[in-house]
Symmetry: C2
DNA sequence: TTGTAAGCGTTATCAA
DNA sequence: TTGATAACGCTTACAA
C-alpha cells in the first residue's frame, strides 16, 4: 500500500534525528559533509518526497500562488500561464492551477480549493466574480491580481488592457477604410466580449452608423464563426465588414468567405482579436488586435510576489495596452 | 495582513469548542439545530475557508487526484480533463492540475509538487518519463494512470488507444484510394508522434512504397503545417498524399494548398489526427482520426478512484480504440 | 555540528 | 449533544 517515507524514517535508518535530515534539505552547508553524504544516499534510496502539509500548518508562507484560468484550450491563457511561470520559477514559487470553464460558481469553488491549500496569493483571469468570491477574497487579505481586462473596482490589483478602447480603435480603422456596414460577431457572452462590443458600438455610433451584432451564447469555435457569418449575411444588407470578438470566429468566417467566393477584404473586411497563430496561415492573413498576454502574466506574477513580500504596488491597476496587426484581411 | 480564520476563532466567538465547529462541517446532523444555526452565521460572517493542511497530515486520504497534461492550449487535453472532472466531481474528489510543456524534467518537478500535496493518485497524459519519475512513482505505491497512449510497461495502469494501429489504418485508407507518394508530417517529436510514424511506415512498406517523413522539433501549429508541406513538396516528387500527426498541421497544410491552388483531395489527399473542430470548418472538411479523449478521461478517473478505494482494476491496460472521420479531404 | 521541545489546525477517539 | 485529548510531520528556537 501507499507507504509514505518521512524524515523520521530516513533519520532512523541512519541513527540520527529528523532535524538533521530536515537541515540537509533546507541548508545542506550546515550539515557535516560525511553526514550529508549518508543522508543523500538514504534519500535517494528511499525515494523521499517532501511533504508540504506540516509547513502549511506553521505560519510560514507556502510559496505557492494559485492561478485560475477559464479554459484549458486557449492559447491566450496558456501564454498567460507561461508568463506567470517565467517569474514564479525564477522567484522560487510554485503555482497551483485550476480552470473555471467561464463559470463563476466553478471559479468560486476552485478559489476555495486553492485557498484551502494555503496559497500565498492568487491570479485570476476574469473580473466578474460571485458575491461570495469577492467576500472571501477581501476578507482573506490575500494578494489578488485580476488580469486580462481592467475592472473598475478591482478586488486588489489588476493587470490587463482596455478591451473597449482596443475594439474602438480596430473598428475605427475599418471605418477609415471605407467600411460602413460592419457587423460584430460575438460568442460566449463573457465580460471581455461585451467590452469589445461597447468599443465597437461607440465607434459605429460616432461615425453615424448603426451597430449590428450577431451573438451566440455558445463557446466560440471556427464552426461558430462560419455560422455567425452566415446569419449576419442573412440578417443584414450589404455587410462589408466583420469585427470578431476573437480569432477563432474570424478564421471560421474567413473560411466561409473562401467557400462562398466572397473576396476578403474587397467584398468583406474581417478583423479578429488576439493575434493568434492561426490567423497568419490564412490567405489573406488575418488583421487582428494583438494582446500582450505573456507580458500580462509576467507583470501579474511580479505584482503578487511583491505584495507577498510586503512591497505592495503603488499603482494597483496596470494597463499594458495592445497593438494592431495590420494583416491583409482589412 | 493575511489573517486566516481558524475553527478556533469561530468557536471562541460562540463560546463553544472547535470540535463542535468541525463537526458542523463534517456531519451537521450531529450538532444541535440551535448551535448549528449560530455556527452557520459565524462561518458566513468570518469568511472561513477550510484548511486542508492538518487533514493532509493525518493518514487520511486527501481525496485529491493530481493531473499532469503537457499543454494548456490543446483541445485534446482539455477534453481529457473535462472527462476526468465529470467523475471526480461526482465522486467528491478534487483535482490538482499541472502542465509539463512536453518536458520530462518539468513533468518530474510537477509530479513531485503534486505528491508533496499528498494527492491520493495521479493521472499522467504521457508515457515517457524520467528515470527518477518512474522510481518515485513506483516507490510511492500511489495509483497512477498513464493515458492517451498504451505503454508496453505501464507504471501502474493505462488507458488510451493504439496510435500505431490508428495511423496504420488511416494510411491504408489513403493507399486504397490510390495514393502512393504519401508524406508524413511530424512536429514536436513526442512519443505519440513517433508511434504514428511507425504505423505510417508499416502501411507504406506493406504496400511496397517508401515512407517519407518531414519533421520539425518545434511545437505544431498551423504555420508549421504550411512550412512542412512546402518542404515536402520541395523535397519529394509527385507527392499525392499527406498524413499529419495532428489536425493543426493538416489544417495549415490544407490552407497552403488553397493558397497555391492545389486541389484537395484530387491533387493531394490530406488526413489529420484527433478530429478537432477546426478541421470541420475547412472546405473540403478534413479527414481525420477521432480519438476518444473524453472517454479516456472518464475511464482514467474511474480507475484511479477505484484503486484508491482498494478495488484495483483486474485489467490494468484499457484500449478505448479510435474511429475515422471520413471527411472530404481524402 | 547535532539534538530537544514546542507548535501549527484539524479530526478520530473516547469521555462526559 | 458537546468537550478533552492526542496525533499527524515538519520547522523554529534554543540548547548542548
Amino acid at each position: 500500500m501507499t507507504q509514505r517515507v518521512s524524515l523520521q524514517d530516513i533519520a532512523d535508518q541512519l541513527g540520527i534525528t529528523k532535524m538533521t535530515v530536515s537541515r540537509y534539505f533546507r541548508s545542506p552547508e550546515r550539515v557535516a559533509p560525511a553526514t550529508r553524504e549518508k543522508i543523500a544516499q538514504a534519500v535517494k534510496r528511499s525515494g523521499y518526497i517532501h511533504n508540504r502539509a506540516p509547513a502549511l500548518m506553521s505560519k510560514a508562507l507556502s510559496r505557492t500562488i494559485g492561478v485560475v484560468i477559464p479554459s484549458l484550450s486557449n492559447q491566450v491563457f496558456s501564454a498567460l500561464v507561461d508568463g506567470i511561470e517565467t517569474i514564479t520559477n525564477a522567484e522560487g514559487f510554485d503555482i497551483l492551477l485550476a480552470h473555471s470553464g467561464y463559470d463563476q460558481q466553478v471559479e468560486e469553488r476552485k478559489i476555495e480549493m486553492l485557498m484551502s491549500y494555503q496559497v500565498d496569493g492568487l491570479i485570476l483571469s476574469e473580473t466578474e466574480h460571485s458575491e461570495r468570491t469577492r467576500t472571501i477574497l477581501s476578507q482573506s487579505g490575500l494578494p489578488v491580481v485580476e488580469c486580462m481586462e481592467l475592472p473598475e473596482t478591482p478586488i486588489d490589483m489588476a493587470v490587463g488592457l482596455n478591451h473597449k478602447a482596443a475594439a474602438f480603435e480596430a473598428v475605427n480603422k475599418m471605418i477609415s477604410r471605407g467600411k460602413r456596414s460592419i457587423v460584430y460577431l460575438a460568442a460566449r457572452l463573457d465580460r471581455r466580449t461585451l467590452l469589445r462590443q461597447q468599443g465597437y458600438e461607440q465607434a459605429m455610433w460616432q461615425a453615424g452608423y448603426t451597430p449590428q451584432t450577431i451573438a451566440t451564447p455558445f463557446q466560440s469555435s471556427f464552426t461558430q464563426g462560419m455560422n455567425l457569418l452566415k446569419q449576419a449575411l442573412d440578417t443584414y444588407d450589404s455587410v462589408d465588414g466583420i469585427f470578431c470578438t476573437n480569432d477563432d470566429l474570424a478564421v471560421g468566417a474567413m473560411q466561409h468567405c473562401k467557400n462562398l467566393g466572397i473576396r476578403v477584404p474587397e467584398d468583406l473586411a474581417i478583423v479578429g482579436y488576439n493575434g493568434l497563430d492561426v490567423g497568419q496561415t490564412m490567405q489573406p492573413t488575418l488583421s487582428s488586435i494583438i494582446t500582450p498576454r505573456q507580458a500580462i502574466g509576467i507583470k501579474s506574477a511580479h505584482m503578487v510576489i511583491d505584495a507577498i513580500n510586503g512591497k505592495k504596488a503603488t499603482t494597483p491597476i496596470i494597463d499594458l495596452g495592445f497593438s494592431f496587426n495590420n494583416g491583409q484581411s482589412l
